[in-house]
Each structure stands twice: as C-alpha cells, then as structure tokens.
Symmetry: C2
Subunit: 354 residues, 2 copies
Amino acid sequence: MEGASATVISVEELQLAARNHALPLEALAHSITPLGLHYLLIHFDIPLVDASAWKLAIGGLVERPLTLTLDDVTARPARTFAVTLECAGNGRALLSPRGASQPWLYEAVGTAEWTGTPLAPLLREAGVRSGATEVVFTGLDRGVQGDVEHLYERSLTLDDALRDEVLLAYAVNGQPLPPQHGYPLRLIVPGWYGMTHVKWLQSVTVVGEAFRGWQQEIGYRLQQSEDDAGTPVTRMLPRSLLVPPGIPDFFSRERFVPAGPCVLAGRAWSGWGRIERVEVSTDGGATWSDAECGDAVSPYGWNGWRFEWDAGPGEYELCCRATDAAGNTQPLEPEWNLGGYCNNAVHRVHVTVS
Amino acid sequence: MEGASATVISVEELQLAARNHALPLEALAHSITPLGLHYLLIHFDIPLVDASAWKLAIGGLVERPLTLTLDDVTARPARTFAVTLECAGNGRALLSPRGASQPWLYEAVGTAEWTGTPLAPLLREAGVRSGATEVVFTGLDRGVQGDVEHLYERSLTLDDALRDEVLLAYAVNGQPLPPQHGYPLRLIVPGWYGMTHVKWLQSVTVVGEAFRGWQQEIGYRLQQSEDDAGTPVTRMLPRSLLVPPGIPDFFSRERFVPAGPCVLAGRAWSGWGRIERVEVSTDGGATWSDAECGDAVSPYGWNGWRFEWDAGPGEYELCCRATDAAGNTQPLEPEWNLGGYCNNAVHRVHVTVS
C-alpha cells in the first residue's frame, strides 16, 4: 500500500471500516455495480422505517406545503439513470496525518441505476416563495458527531436543488431501496460527493438563509487548520481506478501477473465534466500512455477504459489518472486537508510479473 | 471497544476490512438479512462468471461423472431455507495477539434465505464408489495464501456431504446469487462456519483419502502454536449479539440511551443445537438475567430474543450470552488460538444513559 505502509489504524477506525462497505476493486469490472458491492457510508444507524407510516414533508418557504406518501411519490413521473457516487472521504487513509473518521483507501465508490421522481416539479407545485435561497434535506438518521446531537441534514442552493437531474429516488438497480441505501426515499444529486445524497429522507424544507447544520458548516469542508473557515466540499473531482490484474495474495493483496499481453482496465469519473482522457503508467507515474476510453454509462456515470500492456518479468507500480472536460487532472500525490476530503491522487497498484 | 482499545490495526488488515463487509449491528433487527448487509469474506477476487459457459463437474470416485449446466441445476428439486452464516474468524480483532488476517470485531454474520438443490441426490445419481471418504468442493477463485497458489477448496466427510440440508444454492432472498455470494452456484452447509460454504463452485470431487489442500490442512485449524497440528474448525459455536440501543456517536460508536424503559433485543445461534437460553447483563457480566427467546427463523437460522430493561442514568456495559441444546455457553473472555478462530466471547456494548 504505497504511501501508507507505516500507517496504523485505530480500533475506532476499524469499527467504521467494518460497517461502511467499500467496492472490492475487481468489481470495477461491472459497468453497473451489483447491489451489495456499492460503497456505503452510514454516519449513524440505518433507520428501521415502516413505509406504510412514512411520509415526506415539503415545506418551509413555500405557498402550499405538501405531505406525500410513498405511493404519492412513486405515482409521479419517473426517471432512471446510472449515477456514480463517491464518498467525499475516499482516499482519507492515504493521508498523513488524517482526520479521525472513516479510513477509506481507494474504493468508496459505486455506480447504480437510480429510479425516482424529479424534485424540481415538486418544488414548483409547492410554490417556492420569494426570499428562498436554499433547500434543506433532512434524514431520519440521528446521532452525535462533534459532540452535537443532530439528524443528518444537508442543504443545496435553490438553483442546485432545481436542476433537472436531482431525483427523489425510491429504487436502485430496479429494486426498492434496501435499508442501507435510504429506504424508502433518498436524494440523488448527480455529480456531487456522497454526503449530498441524503438517505431516509423525511423532509425537504425551503429556507431563506444559509443552512448551518453540523454536516454542512462543520463537516465536509476543505480546511488547512481548525481555524480555517475553509470551503465546502461539493462535486466529485476526477478519479480513475483500475481493476488489479492477475491474482492476489490473500493478506497483503499484492498481485501476481503472468508475463505476456495483459489488458489493464478500469473506470473513470468526474463531477465537473465528462472524462476526456485516461492515462496509464507502469512505472509509478514517471511516464504515461493514453488508455482507450469507452463511453460513459450515462451522463452522470463513469466511463470504462482499457490499456494493452505487454508485461515483461519484473516489479511494477501501475497507476492511472483521469482528466475531465473542465481541465482537472488527478495529482500524483494527495493534497492534504484537515478532514481528509477529496483525495483524488492517482491509484497505485503494485504487481509482480513472472 | 472493550478489550481492544489499545489495539492498532495494520494497513494490510484495513485493506481486508474494506473489502470484506460486516453486518452493521443495527441490522440484527431484520430476521432475514437484506442483501448487501450480510457479511462477506472473500479470500481472493470475486470471479467474473459467464453463466452460459459455466458448468459444474461432479466426478472422482463415482460410477457416472456428471456435468451440469446452470439450467440443469435449477431444473432439479429445490429447497429454500433460512441459514445463519458466520465467519470462522469473527471476533479475531478482539484477540491479542491475533492472526494476520481479516480483523473482524463482532459482526461477521448474516441470515439469508438460500434456494438450491440438495447435493445428496446428485451424489447418488453419480454413484459414489466404495472407498470414498470425502467430497472436495472447488471454487473458481484463485490466489496465494501462505505462499501457496491455489484455488479455494474445502472438503467434507462423505457423511457430512450426504446430509439432507446440504444444498447447491443458486438464489438468495429470492434472487439469483449476486457475484459476491458465489454466482452462479455455491455450497450451503447449515450449521458450519462460513469457510465451508464454497462459493463460485466449479467441481465436486469424491475422493478416497483425506483432502490436504491449504484451506483445509493449514487454514481453519485451532492451534496453540505453529507446531501444534490442531483441530479443524467445523460448526459454529453459540453466539448472541445485541442491537445497540439508543443513538451512536459517529466516530467512537459509543451509545447514548434515554433513561426509562428500554427493550434490548438481538439474535442468537449455534451450529451445535438449538438455542436454549439467552441471558443479558447490564453490568459487564457480573450478574445475568434471562432474556425472552423467540422462535428460530428456521431449523438452521438464528433466534430473536428480547429483554426489558429499566435504564436508570449511568454508564453500563451491556452483554448477552447464549447457551445451546448441546450445553455450550459463550465464555466471558475470548479463548485464544493462533489463527484467531471461533472467538465467541460475549458481546459487550458500552452505553451512557441520561
């Protein structure tokens, strides 16, 4: 594990790693992540929800507050599209020092097909009143973080909340949401890091001032120190990952590859624009070659890529890096911040060819 | 985390914890574990299987070797039952020192409804020859463990393989197996620890001598030292787990419970007999009270249990312990062994009531 071999992990971090599931890297071979392999980050406990009693309240600065049952939501016009979701803390455990939180390595990502009803028509039906600036999304999950007891809540600006692709989703990969993905209803905001996609939604509240909840004002900010007000984490930076070739050692996850032609393949995504380029290095990032990019699985989902490597005997550090249409490229080394967010440094996989 | 607060985890262990998913303890509330919450332990990589090309070979010491397509398997008589599966390494990270392997805490368990065809009639059709003593189950997953490259393989004695409840399973919770659970076919051996339930089955081979593959002879043995031949890990020892009450702190997973009546609930199981008793302690195991046991979800699945606790303000260490019909009771402290297997010491959950 390049850059982290001397790291030790605390038991508190291990407890989080046990409950928050990562995508095993070989599952990048699936263009749509099978249920049960998609990453999960669950701050508090997964709520037990009785859908027959559940209701969604749409209120705040609106003319006509709405209360919707699950049947009301599923009876509305539906859209389905594949969306790549990545945790904002992906890569945190590769930083040193790192924030005391979920110790992700590379794999906190997944791409699923989400089905839901667009939010904007609902907000228009409710009638957003003048003075409205943000929309607050409140989940049913309650707990303590940073010594503050709160429900999980995040906001979007009114403009972002009204974007066409923002969904209230009740199905994933053609099935009702399983409990861990937000049953019965969650927010989907394509392009944004996972903290935005509030699960177990209970209310949508239009407000006229900046939302100051813990998960918005304290959590999910890029800060250089505790005193730094920082900037909010929003859209996903470009990232690419590769399917580790060959076979693994159980414990070290070192890889063994037979000499000869070897197709390297993986996925790449960005929340800032389409993927324009994926490059591969077999020498730890000293030299790079272009990979062949496939089509994205949707306007909001990742691209496949492949690279034909003629693997001669030896030791290699395979790397990949993506560049998006906005001109963002993955850095070779992590860019440190206090909370350990948005570490999109290139993926490195050590292999032995023989 | 009682007994482990000074422990540090290596990055290699963290890599395993990221890919091998645990059951979040609050999901014990579901009598049948939803897909995506069941524990996973995957030694090597999840194979990518083309089911249309896949075949199962049944051979070795048989009169009539069989080759079956997936359609052949699913056309045979089917049985469905709930089975509790637990990893043999569950609890390993609570041991000190511990084997270098997957660092499970308490949560490597799940109960799903498996559908498949019984193995015994297939072996009878193939015609087991005299001299046969064991049946070897071979998966498609290949890798290196203990410096030995091998396919994942395990054996059962012929008597165990012929038990009525042993299934070749192709569905879980009413759906085709997802890749991570062994698509397209896996072995299910109710009552045994998870290493027995070989996934991604490609062959079933009847043999006339003791199988000596790595996962049988080196792995999964209860040893006191490297020189100790040890004894094989087989059936699940009794264990009970409780749904942590109240709400959690995100990072520490400490629990906060309001004072007053509080129902404690959980699950208990054993591979050696039905659950006869579950006890609860609120003082770290000094004193115990009987919990009320519900029915098992199946002859091979866990029991629910509940206990009404009148929670006064203070700090508590909640514990639960199960006793099975064979007279096995969970110990208060772990029983150490080199590989870190079968640690069924009582579950301990620290809570603050206010």
